[in-house]
Symmetry: C2
Subunit: 406 residues, 2 copies
């Protein structure tokens, strides 16, 4: 008997039939004698419609009305799932964010959970009930509904699992788990049985899109055992764990790619203290999220080239910011390229295994793929290449690291 938190996303509760199927899955776990709390998202598409209505009227910064409107999506699904479980004879009841409560700060639209008061839910579980909890939402200190930002239901589920000290938090979704590469690109991609939080964090932010980054950070902080699993297939899924729980560590866990960034290079920036601050300060103020930053030594001792990436959708804004700060920055010219792909290999094992980088560069060279920029972290090597080679690169690397299924 275990205490399990399961989260079902929007495609898993897309209509009444799906909701009934989720109820069947939950009942099966309940009937095995487990305690189970379920966190659900809004029906797929519903949140988009609500957001669109708000955007069509709104002219200024959100101040809570957005959250009040958008949070109705989960409010509908928790009620319907509770009823569906009751119809199967399982005692269930819905819990809204403010009822649990998930206490958050006042950043409406992208609030952060500050505390989960789980006594109510724990009491519900102790009585043998199945609490059905609205994800994505909480309550602010001023008593108004807040939302956690897109994908926040994952974070709700992990926060609840942490507060309840649950044995496991299942993220039930439309994929079977975390793969060594995107199966749509690499047919031989293999499902991973286990992965560390750190690797999952890199995978999530590199485009794997299975889990919201914040939820993995929270799981890591509170040591919550996560499992990414299919909502409706029996696949075993992928466990996301602390490194200490993974005995035999592969060198690398996967190959990921992202085509959502653009490259910007400032050519011949003067190499003096304060240049980086003068560049990235204004970019941050403009709300532009800078990812890779590469600066090489100044060959002539006076000027250097500075390359970085920004979200592709923010490229024009970034160029404007640079333009309006051009006097302070003093550079020769700006080059930019929206058609780049970021390819990464990820794995905690690379810390202790030489040759991971060498394998990567050789595999790309063999295919004639030019590496534009290289950036490394402790468990990741990322390169920027021309976008047109993205899929070829991922497939080549997947094979080079011996991942392709026999």
């Amino acid at each position: 008997m275990a205490l399990i938190v399961q989260k079902y996303g929007g495609t898993s509760v897309a209509d009444l039939d799906h909701i009934k199927r989720v109820a069947d899955r939950v009942k099966a776990i309940y009937d095995q004698g487990n305690q189970i709390a379920v966190v659900v998202s809004a029906m797929a598409g519903v949140t988009d419609q609500l957001v669109q209505w708000v955007r069509e009227i709104e002219t200024k910064q959100s101040n809570g009305e957005y959250d009040t409107v958008v949070s109705t999506g989960e409010q509908v699904t928790v009620g319907l799932l509770a009823i569906a479980l009751q119809a199967l004879g399982v005692p269930a009841r819905s819990w809204l964010g403010w009822q649990v409560p998930f206490e958050t700060n006042c950043f409406y639209g992208s609030a952060r959970i500050t505390n989960v008061k789980s006594e109510g839910i724990a009491g519900c579980l102790a009585k043998g009930e199945v609490p059905i909890v609205a994800g994505f939402q909480g309550i602010s200190p001023e008593g108004r509904i807040t939302t956690l930002g897109r994908g926040g239901s994952d974070t709700s589920a992990v926060a609840l699992a942490a507060a309840l000290n649950a044995d496991r938090c299942d993220i039930c979704t439309d994929v079977n788990g975390v793969f060594t590469a995107d199966p749509r690109i690499v047919p031989g991609a293999q499902k991973l049985d286990k992965i560390t939080y750190e690797e999952m964090l890199e995978m999530a932010s590199q485009g794997a899109k299975v889990l919201q980054t914040r939820s993995v950070e929270m799981a890591m902080k509170h040591n919550v055992t996560l499992r990414v699993i299919s909502s409706f297939l029996d696949s075993g899924g992928t466990f996301v764990l602390g490194e200490e729980n993974i005995v035999e560590q592969e060198k690398i866990s996967g190959v990921t790619y992202s085509c959502e960034e653009a490259k910007v290079t400032l050519v011949s920036v003067s190499d003096k203290p304060g240049t980086a601050a003068a560049l990235f300060g204004p970019l941050a103020e403009a709300g532009i999220n800078v990812d890779m930053i590469v600066q090489n030594i100044a060959e002539d001792g006076k000027s250097t080239d500075m390359t970085f990436t920004v979200p592709r959708s923010d490229l024009q804004k970034a160029l404007s910011v640079i333009e309006s700060n051009s006097i302070k920055l003093s550079f020769k010219r700006v080059d930019s390229d929206p058609n780049v792909a970021k390819i990464s290999v990820i794995g905690v094992g690379m810390r202790s295994h030489a040759g991971v980088a060498g394998t990567m560069f050789s595999a790309l060279a063999e295919k004639g793929i030019n590496i534009q920029v290289i950036s490394t972290s402790e468990i990741k090597i990322s390169v920027l290449i021309s976008e047109e080679y993205a899929e070829l690169a991922v497939r080549s690397l997947h094979a080079a690291y011996g991942f392709d299924a026999e």
Copy 2:
């Protein structure tokens, strides 16, 4: 400067354009220096969709999940209307039922308001804000969302107006006010400028359908001045007031009809004590709402005929109840007729004016309309006639009482 509560129904907030038009109306009142609180329903059709979803899954008695799901309709409109007002530069904020709070009992799906804690709303008004309040919903003693039953937004508005001691409660709807008869049936029907609570109660329950009965009862109890007014036309509307505020009282205020009832007659029921209880007790237990009840004297001293009406949709259920109690009741046979119309003339003035009934019966006789059953109250005379004569009867009576516009 006045303190006004306005309620807008589902057709008045049916889409974003309508919501923006409501915002314009509210802004106009606000700009005149008034304090205004707005109560809104769900977008027309939304509640029906939500109810349908619940009904498609639910197999047993509602226990709060219905309310959690269905209350999202108003939650969306309060947020959107608040944003629309903010976009016009009016400080507005939404209030959900649990935030006000509207405290109710635990009868989920048809809860009754037990208390309105209006301090929060009053503080909002005092700051110069416009509170946008979700109608139809409240919070139970166990902290769960309740709904007041269909049309409950009228009741929410009146309860809020009473708690705030508002100068007026406007029910803004898709008609211009209360008419002497249904304008779709009687082209010459005239809008009433004023009507008493008692008359409005009879009008509401007789099919005028402008105001929910409970809201009129509550307005009468707390002496809240109601006004039924068009959401978008400047028509002046109809005031619903205490009798003491109406100086010159017309004899009758209107002619109403209802084709939603069926007539049942138990022929030759034994005329002994306990018969009525043996009949109406089981009907009440079955949840069947009996309206008119007519029993005449027993001519032979032993048996009599008992006639009553039930909602047409409950006729078969009522006949089953009678059948299963037939031994206790001892009657000769049951006649039933679903094709009856109830025609009523209503007016507090008829108390002191003879001849109201005579005028009614003469007018119907002139058209050859047979009166099947007569029932009277202090301010109302109702008759049952064959349904096919309903419109003719209403038009004839409207003319007979001198209502037709010159």
